[in-house]
Protein backbone atom coordinates (compact mmCIF):
# COMPACT_ATOMS: atom_id res chain seq x y z
CA UNK A 1 0.00 0.00 0.00
CA UNK A 2 2.84 2.41 -0.81
CA UNK A 3 1.22 5.58 -2.12
CA UNK A 4 4.42 7.38 -3.09
CA UNK A 5 4.88 8.08 -6.79
CA UNK A 6 7.21 10.21 -8.88
CA UNK A 7 6.30 13.66 -10.17
CA UNK A 8 6.15 12.17 -13.68
CA UNK A 9 3.67 9.53 -12.55
CA UNK A 10 1.63 12.22 -10.82
CA UNK A 11 1.25 14.55 -13.79
CA UNK A 12 0.55 11.56 -16.04
CA UNK A 13 -2.74 11.23 -14.18
CA UNK A 14 -3.88 14.63 -15.41
CA UNK A 15 -5.32 14.38 -18.91
CA UNK A 16 -6.50 17.02 -21.38
CA UNK A 17 -10.02 18.20 -20.64
CA UNK A 18 -10.12 17.04 -17.03
CA UNK A 19 -11.70 18.90 -14.14
CA UNK A 20 -8.99 19.55 -11.57
CA UNK A 21 -9.25 20.96 -8.08
CA UNK A 22 -6.13 22.70 -6.87
CA UNK A 23 -5.64 23.62 -3.22
CA UNK A 24 -4.22 26.86 -1.92
CA UNK A 25 -5.18 30.44 -1.21
CA UNK A 26 -3.23 33.04 -3.18
CA UNK A 27 -0.57 30.37 -3.71
CA UNK A 28 -0.28 29.67 0.04
CA UNK A 29 -0.76 25.92 0.42
CA UNK A 30 -0.73 25.12 -3.29
CA UNK A 31 1.07 22.10 -4.82
CA UNK A 32 3.70 24.18 -6.59
CA UNK A 33 5.88 21.37 -7.86
CA UNK A 34 2.92 19.59 -9.47
CA UNK A 35 1.70 22.86 -11.02
CA UNK A 36 5.14 23.50 -12.50
CA UNK A 37 5.25 19.97 -13.91
CA UNK A 38 1.79 20.44 -15.45
CA UNK A 39 2.98 23.65 -17.08
CA UNK A 40 5.98 21.80 -18.45
CA UNK A 41 3.86 18.91 -19.71
CA UNK A 42 1.41 21.29 -21.37
CA UNK A 43 -1.76 19.35 -20.59
CA UNK A 44 -4.64 21.51 -21.85
CA UNK A 45 -8.36 22.36 -21.82
CA UNK A 46 -8.43 21.99 -18.07
CA UNK A 47 -11.30 23.09 -15.88
CA UNK A 48 -9.71 24.41 -12.70
CA UNK A 49 -11.61 24.65 -9.44
CA UNK A 50 -9.75 26.70 -6.86
CA UNK A 51 -10.14 29.58 -4.47
CA UNK A 52 -8.32 31.91 -6.86
CA UNK A 53 -6.00 31.90 -9.84
CA UNK A 54 -2.93 32.96 -7.90
CA UNK A 55 -0.50 35.26 -9.64
CA UNK A 56 0.83 35.36 -13.18
CA UNK A 57 4.17 33.96 -12.03
CA UNK A 58 3.12 31.95 -8.98
CA UNK A 59 0.71 29.12 -8.25
CA UNK A 60 -2.31 28.29 -10.35
CA UNK A 61 -1.82 31.46 -12.38
CA UNK A 62 1.00 29.82 -14.33
CA UNK A 63 -1.46 27.37 -15.90
CA UNK A 64 -3.72 30.27 -16.90
CA UNK A 65 -0.86 32.28 -18.40
CA UNK A 66 0.29 29.21 -20.31
CA UNK A 67 -3.13 28.86 -21.95
CA UNK A 68 -3.89 25.46 -20.46
CA UNK A 69 -7.18 26.38 -18.86
CA UNK A 70 -10.58 26.27 -20.55
CA UNK A 71 -12.66 27.19 -17.53
CA UNK A 72 -12.08 28.48 -14.02
CA UNK A 73 -14.40 28.11 -11.04
CA UNK A 74 -13.06 30.44 -8.34
CA UNK A 75 -13.97 33.03 -5.74
CA UNK A 76 -11.46 35.70 -6.71
CA UNK A 77 -9.35 36.38 -9.79
CA UNK A 78 -8.17 39.91 -9.03
CA UNK A 79 -4.55 39.01 -8.31
CA UNK A 80 -4.00 37.58 -11.77
CA UNK A 81 -4.70 40.10 -14.52
CA UNK A 82 -4.30 37.43 -17.17
CA UNK A 83 -7.39 35.61 -15.90
CA UNK A 84 -9.46 38.75 -16.29
CA UNK A 85 -8.04 39.45 -19.74
CA UNK A 86 -8.76 35.94 -21.06
CA UNK A 87 -12.25 36.13 -19.55
CA UNK A 88 -13.00 39.52 -21.10
CA UNK A 89 -11.70 38.35 -24.48
CA UNK A 90 -13.96 35.30 -24.28
CA UNK A 91 -11.01 32.93 -24.37
CA UNK A 92 -11.64 31.38 -20.99
CA UNK A 93 -14.85 30.83 -19.07
CA UNK A 94 -14.85 32.09 -15.48
CA UNK A 95 -17.48 31.20 -12.88
CA UNK A 96 -17.22 33.30 -9.74
CA UNK A 97 -18.56 31.77 -6.53
CA UNK A 98 -18.75 33.15 -2.99
CA UNK A 99 -15.91 31.65 -1.02
CA UNK A 100 -18.04 30.05 1.66
CA UNK A 101 -20.34 28.60 -0.96
CA UNK A 102 -17.48 27.05 -2.91
CA UNK A 103 -16.10 25.53 0.30
CA UNK A 104 -19.50 24.02 1.16
CA UNK A 105 -20.13 22.82 -2.39
CA UNK A 106 -16.89 20.88 -2.36
CA UNK A 107 -17.59 19.59 1.13
CA UNK A 108 -21.10 18.53 0.08
CA UNK A 109 -19.73 16.54 -2.85
CA UNK A 110 -17.26 14.82 -0.54
CA UNK A 111 -19.80 14.16 2.18
CA UNK A 112 -22.53 12.69 -0.03
CA UNK A 113 -24.94 15.58 0.37
CA UNK A 114 -27.29 16.65 -2.41
CA UNK A 115 -26.50 20.34 -2.26
CA UNK A 116 -25.97 23.38 -0.09
CA UNK A 117 -28.78 25.60 1.16
CA UNK A 118 -27.20 28.98 1.72
CA UNK A 119 -28.61 32.47 2.24
CA UNK A 120 -25.51 33.94 0.59
CA UNK A 121 -26.01 35.38 -2.88
CA UNK A 122 -29.74 36.08 -2.63
CA UNK A 123 -30.45 39.40 -4.35
CA UNK A 124 -27.15 39.29 -6.26
CA UNK A 125 -26.06 38.00 -9.67
CA UNK A 126 -24.97 34.78 -7.94
CA UNK A 127 -28.61 33.78 -7.52
CA UNK A 128 -29.48 34.03 -11.21
CA UNK A 129 -30.83 30.83 -12.68
CA UNK A 130 -30.65 28.88 -9.44
CA UNK A 131 -33.44 27.27 -7.43
CA UNK A 132 -34.47 28.99 -4.22
CA UNK A 133 -36.17 27.31 -1.27
CA UNK A 134 -38.08 28.95 1.52
CA UNK A 135 -37.43 27.08 4.75
CA UNK A 136 -39.15 28.27 7.91
CA UNK A 137 -39.72 31.67 6.34
CA UNK A 138 -36.19 32.32 5.17
CA UNK A 139 -35.01 32.06 1.57
CA UNK A 140 -32.03 29.93 0.61
CA UNK A 141 -30.21 29.28 -2.63
CA UNK A 142 -29.72 25.68 -3.64
CA UNK A 143 -26.10 25.37 -4.68
CA UNK A 144 -25.08 22.03 -6.17
CA UNK A 145 -22.19 19.85 -5.01
CA UNK A 146 -18.88 20.44 -6.81
CA UNK A 147 -16.59 17.53 -7.57
CA UNK A 148 -13.58 16.89 -9.76
CA UNK A 149 -11.73 14.19 -11.64
CA UNK A 150 -8.56 14.97 -9.74
CA UNK A 151 -7.65 16.98 -6.67
CA UNK A 152 -4.10 18.27 -6.42
CA UNK A 153 -3.40 19.30 -2.86
CA UNK A 154 -0.39 20.25 -0.77
CA UNK A 155 0.45 19.11 2.74
CA UNK A 156 3.21 20.14 5.09
CA UNK A 157 3.72 16.64 6.45
CA UNK A 158 2.27 13.43 5.04
CA UNK A 159 2.68 9.91 6.36
CA UNK A 160 3.00 6.90 4.09
CA UNK A 161 -0.67 6.05 4.65
CA UNK A 162 -1.63 9.42 3.21
CA UNK A 163 -2.55 11.17 6.46
CA UNK A 164 -1.94 14.88 5.98
CA UNK A 165 -0.98 17.68 8.36
CA UNK A 166 -1.28 21.24 7.04
CA UNK A 167 0.71 23.95 8.79
CA UNK A 168 -0.81 27.33 9.71
CA UNK A 169 -2.83 28.89 6.89
CA UNK A 170 -1.92 26.27 4.28
CA UNK A 171 -5.01 24.22 5.10
CA UNK A 172 -7.67 26.37 3.37
CA UNK A 173 -9.39 24.33 0.61
CA UNK A 174 -6.98 21.38 0.68
CA UNK A 175 -8.82 19.10 3.16
CA UNK A 176 -12.14 19.76 1.42
CA UNK A 177 -10.82 18.99 -2.04
CA UNK A 178 -9.27 15.76 -0.75
CA UNK A 179 -12.81 14.46 -0.20
CA UNK A 180 -14.36 15.48 -3.50
CA UNK A 181 -12.34 14.05 -6.38
CA UNK A 182 -12.07 10.64 -8.00
CA UNK A 183 -8.32 10.75 -7.56
CA UNK A 184 -6.37 12.68 -4.94
CA UNK A 185 -2.68 13.48 -5.16
CA UNK A 186 -0.95 15.24 -2.31
CA UNK A 187 2.33 17.08 -2.70
CA UNK A 188 4.15 16.49 0.56
CA UNK A 189 6.58 18.94 2.10
CA UNK A 190 7.84 15.99 4.12
CA UNK A 191 6.98 12.28 4.01
CA UNK A 192 7.06 10.41 7.31
CA UNK A 193 6.37 6.87 8.50
CA UNK A 194 2.95 5.80 9.73
CA UNK A 195 2.69 7.20 13.24
CA UNK A 196 4.91 10.13 12.35
CA UNK A 197 1.97 12.52 12.73
CA UNK A 198 0.05 12.89 15.99
CA UNK A 199 -3.42 11.45 15.13
CA UNK A 200 -4.94 14.65 16.57
CA UNK A 201 -3.05 16.67 13.96
CA UNK A 202 -4.23 14.66 10.97
CA UNK A 203 -6.43 17.05 8.99
CA UNK A 204 -6.96 14.73 6.03
CA UNK A 205 -7.27 11.06 6.96
CA UNK A 206 -5.19 8.83 4.70
CA UNK A 207 -8.15 7.00 3.18
CA UNK A 208 -8.83 10.09 1.06
CA UNK A 209 -5.36 10.17 -0.50
CA UNK A 210 -4.45 8.00 -3.50
CA UNK A 211 -0.92 9.17 -4.22
CA UNK A 212 1.87 11.10 -2.52
CA UNK A 213 4.52 13.12 -4.36
CA UNK A 214 7.47 14.60 -2.57
CA UNK A 215 7.58 18.38 -3.02
Amino acid sequence: MDKQISIEEAVAQVKDGMTVMIGGFLACGSPHRIIDALVQKGVKDLTIIANDTGFIDKGIGKLVVNGQVKKVVATHIGTNKETGRLMNEGKMEVVLVPQGTLAEQIRAAGAGLGGVLTPIGIGTPVAEGKDQLVIDGKTYLLEKPVKADIALIAGTKVDVKGNVFYREATQNFNPLMATAADLVIVEAGEVVEAGGIDPHLVMTPGLFVDYIVKA
Binding site: A111, G112, D159, N163, T179, A194, G195, I197, V202, L207
Partner: protein
Protein backbone atom coordinates in the same frame (compact mmCIF):
# COMPACT_ATOMS: atom_id res chain seq x y z
CA UNK B 1 -15.75 -23.86 14.53
CA UNK B 2 -19.01 -22.24 15.62
CA UNK B 3 -21.34 -20.33 13.29
CA UNK B 4 -19.96 -16.92 14.20
CA UNK B 5 -16.40 -17.90 13.52
CA UNK B 6 -17.38 -19.43 10.17
CA UNK B 7 -19.04 -16.18 9.21
CA UNK B 8 -16.22 -13.94 10.42
CA UNK B 9 -13.59 -16.07 8.64
CA UNK B 10 -15.48 -15.88 5.39
CA UNK B 11 -16.14 -12.13 5.63
CA UNK B 12 -12.43 -11.60 6.24
CA UNK B 13 -11.77 -12.88 2.71
CA UNK B 14 -13.73 -10.00 1.24
CA UNK B 15 -10.96 -7.47 1.71
CA UNK B 16 -7.76 -6.40 0.10
CA UNK B 17 -4.87 -4.56 1.67
CA UNK B 18 -5.69 -0.99 2.60
CA UNK B 19 -9.47 -1.26 2.40
CA UNK B 20 -11.31 1.26 4.56
CA UNK B 21 -13.97 -0.63 6.46
CA UNK B 22 -16.50 -0.02 9.21
CA UNK B 23 -17.46 -3.04 11.25
CA UNK B 24 -20.75 -3.12 13.13
CA UNK B 25 -21.06 -4.11 16.76
CA UNK B 26 -20.92 -7.82 17.66
CA UNK B 27 -19.96 -10.50 15.16
CA UNK B 28 -18.43 -8.09 12.59
CA UNK B 29 -15.80 -6.98 15.11
CA UNK B 30 -14.38 -10.53 14.96
CA UNK B 31 -13.47 -10.13 11.28
CA UNK B 32 -10.00 -8.54 11.70
CA UNK B 33 -8.86 -11.63 13.61
CA UNK B 34 -9.16 -13.60 10.37
CA UNK B 35 -7.81 -11.38 7.58
CA UNK B 36 -4.88 -12.97 5.84
CA UNK B 37 -1.25 -12.02 6.32
CA UNK B 38 -0.33 -8.87 4.42
CA UNK B 39 -3.83 -7.46 4.41
CA UNK B 40 -4.09 -4.43 6.67
CA UNK B 41 -7.53 -2.88 6.95
CA UNK B 42 -8.16 0.76 7.77
CA UNK B 43 -10.88 0.32 10.36
CA UNK B 44 -13.19 3.21 11.05
CA UNK B 45 -14.89 3.86 14.35
CA UNK B 46 -17.82 6.12 13.53
CA UNK B 47 -17.60 7.90 16.87
CA UNK B 48 -14.52 9.57 15.52
CA UNK B 49 -11.42 7.88 14.20
CA UNK B 50 -9.72 5.81 11.54
CA UNK B 51 -7.29 3.11 12.56
CA UNK B 52 -8.85 0.94 15.26
CA UNK B 53 -6.25 -1.31 16.79
CA UNK B 54 -6.56 -4.33 19.08
CA UNK B 55 -8.33 -4.14 22.42
CA UNK B 56 -5.94 -3.03 25.16
CA UNK B 57 -5.05 -5.14 28.15
CA UNK B 58 -6.57 -3.92 31.40
CA UNK B 59 -3.54 -1.87 32.34
CA UNK B 60 -3.85 0.17 29.13
CA UNK B 61 -7.57 0.88 29.11
CA UNK B 62 -8.15 4.54 28.21
CA UNK B 63 -11.76 5.66 28.49
CA UNK B 64 -11.13 8.53 26.03
CA UNK B 65 -10.56 5.90 23.35
CA UNK B 66 -13.60 3.68 22.92
CA UNK B 67 -15.22 2.27 19.81
CA UNK B 68 -18.79 2.92 18.70
CA UNK B 69 -19.95 0.24 21.10
CA UNK B 70 -18.31 2.04 24.01
CA UNK B 71 -15.61 -0.61 24.37
CA UNK B 72 -12.01 0.51 25.00
CA UNK B 73 -9.75 0.01 21.99
CA UNK B 74 -6.37 1.19 20.78
CA UNK B 75 -5.30 2.87 17.55
CA UNK B 76 -2.69 1.69 15.07
CA UNK B 77 0.22 3.92 13.94
CA UNK B 78 -1.16 6.29 11.31
CA UNK B 79 -4.57 6.74 12.92
CA UNK B 80 -6.62 9.94 12.69
CA UNK B 81 -9.15 11.49 15.07
CA UNK B 82 -12.07 13.64 13.92
CA UNK B 83 -15.55 14.83 14.89
CA UNK B 84 -18.90 13.23 14.08
CA UNK B 85 -19.57 15.40 11.03
CA UNK B 86 -16.24 14.46 9.46
CA UNK B 87 -16.81 10.84 10.42
CA UNK B 88 -20.14 10.67 8.67
CA UNK B 89 -18.78 12.67 5.75
CA UNK B 90 -16.50 9.68 5.22
CA UNK B 91 -19.43 7.29 5.56
CA UNK B 92 -22.13 9.11 3.59
CA UNK B 93 -19.66 10.34 1.01
CA UNK B 94 -18.89 6.82 -0.17
CA UNK B 95 -15.31 6.73 1.08
CA UNK B 96 -15.60 3.40 2.87
CA UNK B 97 -14.87 0.36 0.74
CA UNK B 98 -17.25 -1.67 2.83
CA UNK B 99 -19.34 -1.92 5.94
CA UNK B 100 -20.14 -5.20 7.66
CA UNK B 101 -23.29 -5.33 9.77
CA UNK B 102 -25.66 -7.77 11.36
CA UNK B 103 -29.34 -7.79 10.48
CA UNK B 104 -32.69 -8.70 11.90
CA UNK B 105 -33.98 -9.18 8.36
CA UNK B 106 -32.62 -8.85 4.86
CA UNK B 107 -34.53 -9.47 1.65
CA UNK B 108 -34.05 -10.39 -1.98
CA UNK B 109 -34.09 -6.75 -3.07
CA UNK B 110 -31.20 -5.94 -0.77
CA UNK B 111 -33.34 -4.21 1.79
CA UNK B 112 -32.06 -4.38 5.33
CA UNK B 113 -33.79 -4.06 8.71
CA UNK B 114 -31.67 -3.94 11.83
CA UNK B 115 -32.68 -1.02 14.00
CA UNK B 116 -36.08 -1.59 15.51
CA UNK B 117 -38.92 -3.99 16.28
CA UNK B 118 -41.98 -1.73 16.60
CA UNK B 119 -43.54 -1.78 20.05
CA UNK B 120 -40.85 -4.07 21.36
CA UNK B 121 -37.26 -3.07 20.83
CA UNK B 122 -36.35 0.42 19.67
CA UNK B 123 -32.64 0.95 20.28
CA UNK B 124 -32.35 3.45 17.42
CA UNK B 125 -30.39 3.39 14.21
CA UNK B 126 -27.21 4.97 15.53
CA UNK B 127 -24.92 5.15 12.52
CA UNK B 128 -26.40 2.14 10.73
CA UNK B 129 -28.56 4.04 8.23
CA UNK B 130 -25.61 6.15 7.14
CA UNK B 131 -23.31 3.15 6.94
CA UNK B 132 -25.70 1.07 4.87
CA UNK B 133 -26.60 4.04 2.71
CA UNK B 134 -23.08 5.28 2.18
CA UNK B 135 -20.53 2.46 2.03
CA UNK B 136 -19.45 1.20 -1.40
CA UNK B 137 -20.27 -2.37 -0.37
CA UNK B 138 -22.69 -3.48 2.33
CA UNK B 139 -21.97 -6.95 3.63
CA UNK B 140 -24.51 -8.50 5.95
CA UNK B 141 -22.85 -10.93 8.34
CA UNK B 142 -25.30 -12.93 10.44
CA UNK B 143 -26.52 -16.35 11.40
CA UNK B 144 -28.77 -17.69 8.68
CA UNK B 145 -31.85 -18.03 10.89
CA UNK B 146 -33.08 -16.72 14.24
CA UNK B 147 -34.32 -19.58 16.44
CA UNK B 148 -35.05 -21.56 13.30
CA UNK B 149 -36.98 -18.76 11.58
CA UNK B 150 -35.64 -17.41 8.29
CA UNK B 151 -34.07 -13.92 8.39
CA UNK B 152 -33.49 -13.85 4.62
CA UNK B 153 -36.93 -12.95 3.34
CA UNK B 154 -38.83 -12.18 0.18
CA UNK B 155 -39.63 -8.84 1.71
CA UNK B 156 -38.58 -7.30 5.01
CA UNK B 157 -41.50 -6.80 7.41
CA UNK B 158 -39.63 -4.63 9.92
CA UNK B 159 -38.93 -0.93 9.31
CA UNK B 160 -35.98 -0.64 6.96
CA UNK B 161 -32.54 0.64 7.79
CA UNK B 162 -31.99 1.36 4.11
CA UNK B 163 -33.59 0.30 0.87
CA UNK B 164 -31.79 -1.80 -1.76
CA UNK B 165 -28.29 -1.32 -0.44
CA UNK B 166 -27.07 -4.79 0.57
CA UNK B 167 -24.40 -6.24 -1.75
CA UNK B 168 -23.67 -9.60 -0.17
CA UNK B 169 -24.94 -11.81 2.65
CA UNK B 170 -22.59 -14.10 4.53
CA UNK B 171 -24.03 -16.69 6.93
CA UNK B 172 -22.79 -19.95 8.39
CA UNK B 173 -24.66 -21.74 5.59
CA UNK B 174 -23.39 -19.85 2.58
CA UNK B 175 -22.70 -16.66 0.67
CA UNK B 176 -25.42 -14.92 -1.32
CA UNK B 177 -25.19 -11.93 -3.65
CA UNK B 178 -28.02 -9.49 -4.17
CA UNK B 179 -28.60 -9.19 -7.93
CA UNK B 180 -31.30 -7.55 -10.04
CA UNK B 181 -32.70 -11.09 -10.45
CA UNK B 182 -32.78 -11.75 -6.71
CA UNK B 183 -30.45 -13.70 -4.46
CA UNK B 184 -27.66 -15.72 -6.04
CA UNK B 185 -26.08 -18.46 -3.92
CA UNK B 186 -22.40 -18.34 -4.84
CA UNK B 187 -20.86 -20.38 -2.04
CA UNK B 188 -22.14 -22.99 0.38
CA UNK B 189 -20.93 -24.56 3.57
CA UNK B 190 -20.41 -28.25 2.70
CA UNK B 191 -21.96 -29.20 6.04
CA UNK B 192 -25.28 -28.27 4.40
CA UNK B 193 -26.94 -29.21 1.12
CA UNK B 194 -28.26 -26.52 -1.18
CA UNK B 195 -31.72 -27.84 -0.40
CA UNK B 196 -31.16 -27.33 3.32
CA UNK B 197 -29.96 -23.77 2.71
CA UNK B 198 -33.01 -22.99 0.59
CA UNK B 199 -35.26 -24.51 3.24
CA UNK B 200 -33.79 -22.12 5.81
CA UNK B 201 -34.38 -19.15 3.48
CA UNK B 202 -37.72 -17.54 2.69
CA UNK B 203 -36.45 -15.80 -0.43
CA UNK B 204 -35.86 -17.87 -3.53
CA UNK B 205 -32.15 -18.65 -4.04
CA UNK B 206 -30.80 -18.96 -7.54
CA UNK B 207 -27.80 -21.28 -7.51
CA UNK B 208 -24.76 -19.86 -9.28
CA UNK B 209 -23.35 -21.92 -12.13
CA UNK B 210 -20.00 -21.30 -10.44
CA UNK B 211 -21.22 -22.42 -7.03
CA UNK B 212 -18.32 -23.40 -4.81
CA UNK B 213 -17.59 -24.42 -1.26
CA UNK B 214 -17.09 -21.71 1.39
CA UNK B 215 -13.95 -23.47 2.66
Amino acid sequence: MDAKEIIARRVAQEFKDGDAVNLGIGLPTMVPNFVEEGVELQLQSENGFMGIGPEPDEAHVDMDLVNAGGIPVTVVPGAAFFDSAASFGIIRGGHLDATVLGALQVDEEGNLANWMIPGKLVPGMGGAMDLVGGAKRVIVAMTHTAKGSPKILKKCTLPLTAAKKVSRIVTEMGVMDVTPQGLLLIEYNPEYTVEQIQAATEAKLTVSSQLKKMF
